[in-house]
């Protein structure tokens, strides 16, 4: 088995790399693939929190690198999905604890047993980024429709193109608010794609459910009703090579707002 190593990166912080990683990983595992997620954000790890696996971590990637344990011992199995594993980052160390070669080596080892290796990249373009990208052959660039995030994504794409190992990269636009796009207060998806001239892999709408899912330690893909969850599921299907149409966010959200307005109107009438 030769797995695909995909790095999820953004340049800017807070655009949803880790959330994307947790959700795509969970969706792929739910589709029956064997998935391992590597958190390379040493010192600022969050992936374990999002998956609700914080209390199970005994060994981290630094322990593997420093040969205090075997690679298999350090893989934390997901609570629900046995196909899903996490290789956690060390919280008490910094980025220099792992080198590019060591991460590459770990990815090579994991390739043999897993279909997908998703590498969660730290923000920035320094050593942490270089490490995360080292073992990968594909990349997903996460950005939001904001000028600063798009600028950073552009920088990242430039760096990725310079890397020989990265065969392909796709763009994921996160936190899209169709209402704002409609009123020209936010960049549209098309604008972002045009600026970055990159192939799209998914559009994720802004969803308040993400906040609760993060706090619960439960990826939002497990929630069938959530719009963002469905969008992430579609991204996973596209990674698997299926043709899935993009969600019509405007229609979906407008339906919701219509219903909301309807009920609001009813309540308003009662009050009167």
């Amino acid at each position: 088995m030769t797995g695909r190593v995909i790095v999820i990166t953004s340049g800017k912080g807070g655009v949803g790399k880790t959330t994307t990683n947790a959700n795509i990983g969970t969706a792929l595992a739910r589709a029956g693939k064997k998935v391992v997620m590597i958190d390379t954000d040493l010192g600022l790890r969050n992936l374990d929190l999002l998956l609700g696996l914080e209390n199970r971590i005994v060994y981290t990637i630094v322990d593997v690198v420093e040969e205090r344990c075997k690679l298999k011992q350090a893989l934390v199995k997901d609570k629900k999905n046995p196909n899903l594993c996490l290789l956690a980052a060390a919280q008490t160390r910094d980025k220099s604890a792992v080198t590019q070669e060591q991460l590459k080596d770990i990815c090579e080892q994991l390739k043999e047993d897993y279909d997908f290796i998703l590498v969660d990249c730290p923000a920035g373009i320094e050593q942490g980024f270089q490490n995360a990208v080292a073992g990968a052959s594909e990349a997903i660039v996460v950005t939001t429709p904001e000028m600063s995030a798009v600028r950073d994504a552009d920088r990242i794409i430039g760096l990725l193109e310079a890397k020989e190992e990265i065969k392909s990269y796709r763009l994921l636009i996160n936190r899209v608010r169709p209402n704002l796009v409609k009123t020209n207060d936010m960049m549209s998806v098309d604008d972002v794609v045009e600026i970055l001239s990159a192939k799209l892999i998914g559009i994720i709408p802004e969803d308040t459910g993400i906040i609760t899912s993060t706090n619960k330690g439960e990826p939002i893909v497990n929630d069938e009703k959530s719009l963002a969850g469905r969008a992430y599921k579609n991204v996973a299907q596209r990674i698997l090579g299926e043709e899935v149409p993009y969600l019509d966010l405007e229609a979906e959200t407008s339906m919701v707002t219509k219903v909301k307005k309807f009920f609001a109107g009813l309540i308003g009438k009662e009050k009167q």
Binding site: G43, N55, I57, Q91, T92, N215, K216
Partner: protein, 365 residues
Amino acid sequence: MENGVSLFDNDTLNNEVSTISESSLQNEESHSSEDDFAYIENGFIVDVSDSRKISDVIYQLSSVLDLPEAQEKQVCIKLGSIDLNSAQVSSIKALVETMNSEIAFISTTSDITEASAKEINVKVSKIENKIVTPSFDNSKEGSAELEKALDKIFGGVSSEAQKLKNKISQFAKSSISKTSENNTESDIISSSHLSDISSSINDGIGTEVDDFKQYDDLNKELAEANRVADLEEEKLLEELKEKMILTEKLPTLYIQRTLRSGQSITADGNIVIVGDVNPGSEIKAVGDITVWGILGGIAHAGIEGNRFAKIRALSMNAIQLRIADVFARRPDGDNIPYIQKSDTYVPEVASVDGNNIIIHKMINK
């Protein structure tokens, strides 16, 4: 013959606890015979013949006499070749008497000890020859094997004796009853053949002695193995006790600030933190960990294997608790990344019970 008996003694009498009743039984069985061999009723034999020092004798004696079965009994002490003066013998006597027992007689191969025992009116006797053929309970574990070994020894003796008798009868050329004793036979033998006979007897005895030595060694090895196992167990217990005491003596690191995510503290002794320990931080201590605040990170007490180490906190909200090699994690479900604030704290203590970590709430204590 002496060696043969000492083999038996080593096996049964040296293993003090299990064999006291057995040996006293044997004494009762065999006390019908000769007068010059003393016997004891309601008593037992303590074999300390492998001791080379008076301290060994005292140690072995006291460990046997300490047993509840050994109270208010007659005691026979088998001393072996050790040389004791009268003061030492009287101290042994005093030791036995403090244990509410009484010395029936002692057995020794040393003339000095014998003399000093007679000085203070302790009866000296020989018990070696007394135990003739020990009877064994087949149902007892391991006795079958011993019996086999003894069969070989004693069976070997009798056949050897048979051969000798045949030889003797040939030399003497007279009709002698086959059941009679060797001693009576030798009276009849003519003096001219006496030297030949005695040499052949010596040869026979020589091979017997070799046989006995072999089993003697085996039993000594067994006894040694038992002793080593006991010692190891004792050592382990002592080690644990030591660790408990050591925790108190360890240096203590005193920290008066909140430990934040990513911060890690390792100490060679105990750690006291006045402040919170936030999730994502790590404390490792050779001794105990005490947190005067909310413990929300990972705490590992007794990192060098001290299972007696404890983790205390005003509020226990740790992601993981580790004590020595025991590990516990926060249950799933209440996986809330921020600390739950509350107005009142109930101090909690985590310690190891068996292979689990148990957290006690400190209420009404």
